[in-house]
Symmetry: none
Subunit: 129 residues, 2 copies
């Protein structure tokens, strides 16, 4: 699980950002649609914000959409960056050669190949237990 320190750290970051943006809890509250009391507890680490809350406060605080999820430990820092966006299949590292070969097969065949892989992995898994 996430340590207490992590929650407290996140709270400090949020507070620093709110102060930097020169907002009160009430102001952030009305902009984000989250009660000020809850925001206060989050800032001082007494409550851990749900994804719903993170999503609502990110914009008003000037964070990128997924930035707070990374800070909260739900996303690794690297994901969603613009760098690998130009790569067609973001989020996975597919060998270009493999992509090329498979890309010439019909979707049906492609799926079947994955199916075979799945079967092999299941066999390997059952052998390992």
């Amino acid at each position: 699980m996430n340590t207490v320190t992590e929650g407290r750290e996140l709270g400090k970051i949020l507070k620093r950002q709110r102060i930097a943006a020169d907002m009160t809890l009430a102001q952030l509250s009305s902009r984000a649609g989250v009660s000020p009391s809850h925001l206060g507890r989050v800032e001082r680490g007494q409550r851990f914000p749900s994804a719903h809350i993170l999503h609502r406060i990110a914009g008003p605080l000037g964070f990128a959409e997924d930035e707070l999820f990374a800070l909260a430990g739900y996303l690794s820092r690297r994901s969603g960056s613009v760098a690998d966006r130009d790569h067609n299949y973001a989020g996975s590292r597919l060998d270009p050669y493999v992509a090329n070969v498979l890309g010439q097969e019909t979707p049906e065949v492609q799926r079947t190949v994955v199916g075979v892989l799945t079967i092999l992995k299941n066999i390997a898994r059952s052998l390992r237990d």
Copy 2:
């Protein structure tokens, strides 16, 4: 509440993906570290998964890290997501789902898969003559 992918829809997507990966609730449970009963309720829309849960099941189900957050409405959507694979691969030759699954294997495994495919094609060709 989000109009994009609400409660029940997300569950269906998760179930479909679990079935496609040929896993039982118990298997996914042990791999993700989430109780099978909870996973079952999530799949049929009786519980909404927290970010913590989404984070844990994404990998085992073959989703990109932030993909489930997008589906849950916490992040805006990206291209090439597994969930969109049925409607979305107009321009590219390689099925996004296939790209996603294979992309999580090591390059070595990826090449081996292509090798197996080549062998199968050769067998099919010789059978035809």
